[in-house]
Subunit: 429 residues, 2 copies
């Protein structure tokens, strides 16, 4: 007998079927036991006569195989239930450290993460990662259609790309190596290698010591890079269409999950673009928020206030902040006039989820820009060598998958959007 | 004026267009210059009057923007060519260390890898990674349709999964950590977390010191794991259908690339399954190949000979080798009778490209199996804790993406199927 999924049962009335899954709830009455069975597609009420159990031990979260008859039952939510003929315990659950069949999982986040396999079974947590998978798939589908090639670039690298000291070091045989902070150099190189348009979905690693609700030390980066652009607005145009597609896919394919999590899906309009200086002025005039210095970036409060303002003014939950100052961006960023760069961030519901921009493609300009930043181009021979062998104008962006997921689903901590988060104090499970 | 791609030009006769790309070849005649332009979609012959060049410097591999008129030209391969009106050099190529416009790239592999951006432009190398991207996409599409969820699991881990000492170590703040050898534990956990069917595409890291044409120290693993299986044959059935889909997609979507690389696509039949003991007997009787010991595995020569035999006998270029001895498989492998396990390898054209099997889902059996292998279950508390909270019978497999690509395309070294390979002696670019 072949297993049938719970979501397929509605067409099986009066038929004998075999279902398999986890015991979500047990209610023992005097004459009968009610089980709620859960598989990856839904839940099912099962009526069990005591004789069927034959003294078998059953506990919540045990894995069972049940053969029974599908009977109409108007009082059940599905309109039918299963009358069990036999039950086999495939894996007994004992001494559960947390209960996962309540309406919400009322344990601290750290405890939920310690018992991750159990907490992931909870009805309010499990859907998070089904939605995340659709976001990832939709990112790929959209870019495939736009002529992008999926690439895989090394995570063990000889040097950092973003500057700073936030690198995890390791011994690579006789050499010192690092974990990649981003695929930045590689995706630029692959544009130059003739692929023109590439994307990568992969882990990046940041040895940042601070622990906030917005940071992970290892996260999944949705990266893309494209050649033959005019300027950074081509990249923003693409991201605008990309996000519209990703959210439309989630809307269409995750109705059940969105419903369970009570998610309000955003519209993706023509996303407003505000230069950083203008944004700082808005914060000053509207919210009396003083800038720290003339090259001030947006701090978390600034990001929230600006998003609030843009939402009120335009109805958009997204805003591109453009023209970041030269001092705030890495050496590969294309400079613009008045000390700015051809760069942008994307804020979504008050949090930065994307950094992007145009990159320098001229050897001379890159060398000059490095020197201005106090870097020696001779320390980057492998990278520099790509710029005098024919490199088109290009740019790209990176979206943090966990942040995007958390913002979309209204999760207050980015850890909730990571299956097995890595942070300052967490290396397991 | 908007850039048009070369593959779109056939509908543009007598029209003025703008194309952009790399200069593949230059042929200077007395009255005229012929350029071959290459973009991501194809090549184009461009006729340039000397007056158009106006003394502009142009070299092969430079990036140019050309405006011109599309004219029918029966003598050109495409049936048309471009009469240039203006040429702008976007990025000048100088002093190329290797030439990439010959029929083949006649440089040693190490030199090709040292100058990776250039070598990737070669017509015989560029298509490799377009095909690889389709393999990856087809893997995902097939599994999405089969109800699998894409997952992302951490690459920084607290301990190894496969035993042995082939781990790269790093300092994770105050703790010692390692790079993941495989997502094995995590994908099992996610089956148990209720997702039932998961896949991951991600890097794995092996600190193996030996350098062969078949090994990389960092590679891309196509991993899947599924719950509620009967035995390891369910996994082989799935892989059989999966590979058929992946190769059909490559056949359909990479006609140009396959043609360029002169690839012979395999049929994916009902793949024969041969128990390892039987395979060793075949090697002994057919090829007088003696076994090293009673638990002998297949060595590379054995893999080649067995593939040859199966091809001759059945016409299949694939063969599942099943029932590996208990001594040769990790502690999580489901034991079977007579010292064997519910495990398999898949050989394709003489090389192992997959390892898979059923895993142990019983706490007691797992603890006992660990102890028999000299391991202490108490050293794996996080892993063990998943087996008494309801774990379904399950199994899975991993396919090495670079190996699969190399075997399909007839590349003699797996490095040729990695954009930026990492090996014993290579950490750059």
């Amino acid at each position: 007998m072949k297993r049938i999924l719970i979501e397929e049962l509605s067409n099986c009335r009066e038929k004998q079927v075999m279902v398999k899954g986890w015991v979500l709830r047990i209610r023992r009455l005097s004459q009968v036991v009610f089980l709620i069975l859960r598989d990856r597609t839904g839940v099912l009420q099962v009526v069990v006569e005591p004789s069927v159990l034959e003294g078998a031990e059953i506990s919540t979260e045990s894995v069972v195989e049940i053969v029974g008859l599908v009977k109409s039952e108007p009082r059940s939510k599905a309109g039918f239930e299963l009358e069990a003929r036999s039950i086999k315990v495939l894996s007994l659950a004992e001494n559960l450290p947390i209960q996962v069949n309540g309406a919400t999982l009322n344990v601290p986040l750290d405890m939920a993460l310690d018992h991750r396999v159990l907490s992931l079974r909870h009805a309010k947590i499990n859907p998070v990662f089904k939605i995340q998978a659709i976001l990832s798939q939709a990112f790929q589908d959209f870019l495939n259609r736009e002529g992008f090639v999926q690439v895989f670039t090394p995570k063990i690298v000889a040097s950092g790309t973003e500057g700073g000291t936030e690198l995890f070091a390791l011994d690579y045989f006789e050499e010192k190596a690092y974990l990649a902070q981003s695929p930045q150099f590689y995706k630029q190189m692959l544009v130059g290698a003739g692929y023109e348009r590439v994307y990568e979905i992969g882990q990046v690693f940041r040895a940042e010591k601070h622990a906030t609700s917005r940071h992970l030390n290892e996260y999944v980066s949705l990266d893309l890079e494209m050649g033959f652009i005019e300027d950074e607005h081509d990249i923003m145009d693409l991201e605008n269409r990309l996000l519209a597609h990703m959210f439309a896919e989630v809307q269409e394919r995750c109705a059940k999950e969105l419903d369970m999590l009570e998610v309000r899906m955003p519209n993706v309009p023509d996303i407003p673009r505000v230069a950083l200086l203008e944004a700082l002025e808005i914060l000053e005039t509207q919210y009396s928020k003083a800038r720290c210095d003339k090259d001030a970036d947006l701090d978390p409060e600034g990001e929230r206030l600006l998003s609030k303002y843009v939402l009120e003014q335009t109805g958009s939950e997204f805003v591109f902040v453009t023209d970041y100052p030269w001092t705030k961006r890495p050496m590969y960023t294309m400079p613009k006039d008045r000390g700015t760069t051809a760069s942008f961030d994307l804020l979504f519901r008050g949090l930065e989820i994307t950094t992007g921009g145009q990159r320098i493609h001229s050897y001379e300009l890159l060398a000059e820009n490095m020197r201005k930043k106090g870097l020696d181009p001779n320390h980057f021979p492998s990278y520099m060598s790509n710029f005098n062998i024919g490199m088109p104008p290009h740019g790209g962006l990176a979206i943090g998958l966990e942040r995007l997921t958390a913002q979309l689903l209204g999760l207050s901590n980015v850890r909730e959007a990571s299956l097995f988060p890595r942070d300052r104090h967490r290396l397991t499970p």
